[in-house]
Symmetry: C2
Subunit: 228 residues, 2 copies
DNA sequence: CGGACGCCTTGACGGCCATCAAGCTTGCCC
DNA sequence: GGGCAAGCTTGATGGCCGTCAAGGCGTCCG
């Protein structure tokens, strides 16, 4: 991990940091580090001491939990310019709440907890941005809990596909799965076999067309109506 | 809903508000209201405009979601002196993310969103308390998502029972279920029938003793080992 | 005391989905 | 091209748990 160069523009355009002054951004970057990682590389473990939170610059990272039997549930797939592990800012002591692995090689910006906390103290707008971010995460958690508790696997898969489309989309839409299918499966909490069978069923019903990792939804509205 | 009287002590001892000055607490209370509710009374719906968040003074409230088929998943059971719906502080527009019903008659303190946001702006320690609160909620959501995704119903029931005991407890412990069993079932995402059968199985295996809503765990450590 | 109502339990059954085990397709390298 | 490996698909089977239906067991109230 080496020092962060002139990344100020990257931060300026990010929701969480756009309310900071140039001086504050510089201060934050001065304390930050860059970490390159390879595909499959283990980045941190659930429970590890966590002095940083992260902004992904390139590649793809999975955040996941493991059951004692070794089953994996992916909590989030992180894509470039997304931040993660902000929670560690307010924990005492700060520890990662999940495992993190590289899925595609890339680069992380590791932001220092203490520095950012000091800056927060002086920037209520940024405080508010952090809280808004946390709020929207909480929203999505509640949606996921509801989905896991109340809905079957077919619903979860359809819901996931629809989530890949823009919310105002309608009619015929083509999306690309953001990762290998085994990862998608671990994300929607089904086995790869069930994911495969579900996609095939949807396809047989004429609702979607599947070609590798490219899925064409033949009619978004109609798919929405066929969740059960 | 009528004005809040001299409730300052209640707020002073609450985690979220203890960092406020007396003047700020007074200001918050001046804008607050009290709402009494009956058992079974519907308090608000998922999606309703939400000008307040709440502190429960007495009774019990359930926060829940419904599936289109009418199945209910309880997200939280609120007990006196707990706050809820703080998320609405940072939404735009603020809307309740769940339904809320009274489970036992009681009284709510409804705290004004705008007033609290103004106060937050001037009190970084309170900001930080709010963020810490949100962080711990996020933690528990991740635990719940993991449990729903990776564990079977027996595990979830055992996990719930263990959650009712103090974390450092060991040996023989007696707990009282905090609500009717149908609500417990909706909380751990099983049917009442399955909850009943699971408790019976645990009881047949000599792990617990059940008498109405009083459950005696014969050995906490041993129960922990029998989750699967 | 008797009956009714809620709440919980118990039993029988079936469907969903995980598991196990082959096959298939694709890309890669010799 | 041939062979191998990784990722995905397909099939057969079984177990968990939801559904439906009936039965027990308190509590309340006439």
């Amino acid at each position: 991990m080496h020092a962060a160069g002139s990344l100020a523009p990257e931060l300026r355009h990010h929701y969480l940091f756009s309310a900071l002054s140039d001086a504050e951004r510089e201060r934050l970057l001065a304390s930050a580090g860059i970490r390159r990682f390879a595909e499959g590389e283990h980045l941190f473990s659930h429970g590890d001491a966590a002095p940083h939170f992260f902004l992904l610059r390139s590649g793809c990272v999975k955040l996941y939990r493991l059951s004692p039997e070794g089953d994996e549930k992916i909590m989030r797939l992180i894509r470039p310019s997304e931040t993660f592990a902000e929670s560690i800012l307010f924990m005492d002591p700060p520890r990662f709440p999940v495992h993190g692995d590289g899925v595609e090689a890339g680069e992380l910006l590791a932001l220092d907890r203490g520095t950012f906390l000091t800056i927060l103290q002086e920037s209520f707008p940024t405080c508010r941005a952090v809280m808004a971010q946390m709020t929207s995460r909480i929203q999505s958690h509640w949606d996921e809990i509801e989905t896991l508790a109340l809905q079957n696997s077919r619903y979860r898969v359809v819901h996931y596909l629809l989530g890949l489309t823009a919310s105002e989309a309608s009619g015929r839409v083509t999306v690309t799965l953001p990762a290998r299918k085994v990862l998608i499966a671990a994300h929607v909490a089904v086995t790869p076999e069930t994911l495969s069978r579900t996609l095939r069923a949807l396809s047989d019903e004429g609702l979607i067309e599947v070609a590798g990792d490219v899925v064409t939804i033949r009619d978004v509205g109609r798919l929405r109506g066929h969740m059960h």
